[in-house]
Assembly symmetry: C2
Homo-oligomer: 178 residues x 2
């Protein structure tokens, strides 16, 4: 058995990277998309991992684990989405990429797999982002009616009505909000 000493660093090598991520602010294509779900990102695993993808196409959704390599700050307390109308909360209570270990996970729709390239809808990582892992999204990842924080609920209600989640991304989110 391997004993991990808790002061040791844990090191990984990327398994691939984002070839083409969502357009950044200033990119003219940015105006064409209203949310990350309007864009199909292209990601690629390194050739040595191509065989690890076998059978992944049996799943409609996957989880992409990526390294927020542009994250520098690691504040312990943040305002979600950097918005001044949001409360100050611990970074572990948010999905901010600026966190002690800048590991991000995104649930995305798998559009295609072509050799070592995957097309995924809903990824909010920039071009060049290193990928740490890819996993299938299974029924164990579904919690149908989780309780969420007031600030998150407020944000979701704004977004889902403005961006019309219900119609455009019909599988996303809880069946109803009470």
């Amino acid at each position: 058995m391997v004993i991990h000493r808790l002061n040791d660093e844990i090191c990984f090598k990327p398994i691939g990277y984002v070839i083409e991520g969502i357009p950044r602010k200033g990119d003219p294509r940015r105006k064409l998309i209203s949310s990350k779900y309007d864009f199909i990102s292209r990601i690629r695993v390194f050739n040595e991992y191509k065989d690890c993808l076998a059978g992944l196409d049996g799943f409609s959704h996957i989880i992409v684990i990526w390294y927020a390599h542009v994250s520098i700050n690691k504040p312990h307390l943040v305002r979600p989405m950097g918005r001044s109308d949001m409360p100050l909360v611990g970074v572990f209570a948010t999905r901010s990429a600026n966190r002690p270990n800048p590991i991000c996970i995104s649930v995305v729709e798998l559009e295609y797999i072509k050799e070592e390239e995957l097309g995924v809808r809903g990824l909010d990582a920039w071009t060049g982002t290193p990928l740490l892992d890819i996993k299938p999204y299974t029924y164990y990842d579904i919690i149908r009616r989780p309780k969420v924080s007031d600030w998150f609920l407020k944000y979701w209600k704004e977004k889902s009505s403005k961006l019309n989640y219900r119609e455009k991304y019909p599988l996303l989110g809880p069946e109803s909000i009470t």
Copy 2:
């Protein structure tokens, strides 16, 4: 902007560890639980990260990202759950802990937060496992009716009827399976 060279290693330090995980095979307490959802695991963040937990108690479910430190093998093709009746698939199409980067993610129910300790239901990590991150489970993590692979669907149907998921873990999984 930070440029990550794709050959570079990506290193993290644990933010905490599992104080008491699910009993392993051979542990007499193992007989008392039929699944990981019957057990409340105790996890702890290091004191320096205690403030990062502020506000996390507004969420009923959280995502725990952990390092499978006992994983040694990194096969590219595996049979899910190590079962001979399962097809051979790429490891990225499974949730096996034996993968190129042994990063595991578990959606768990948050039972309590007491200082730097959290009680969580549904974690399948052993005692001593290093934690890489903790995140809230939000509506963006819910896909209500994902398509899953045939082998997964077979496994889920077996488990959910045998362990009575519907009654014991009423929020878990899709509303109905078609």
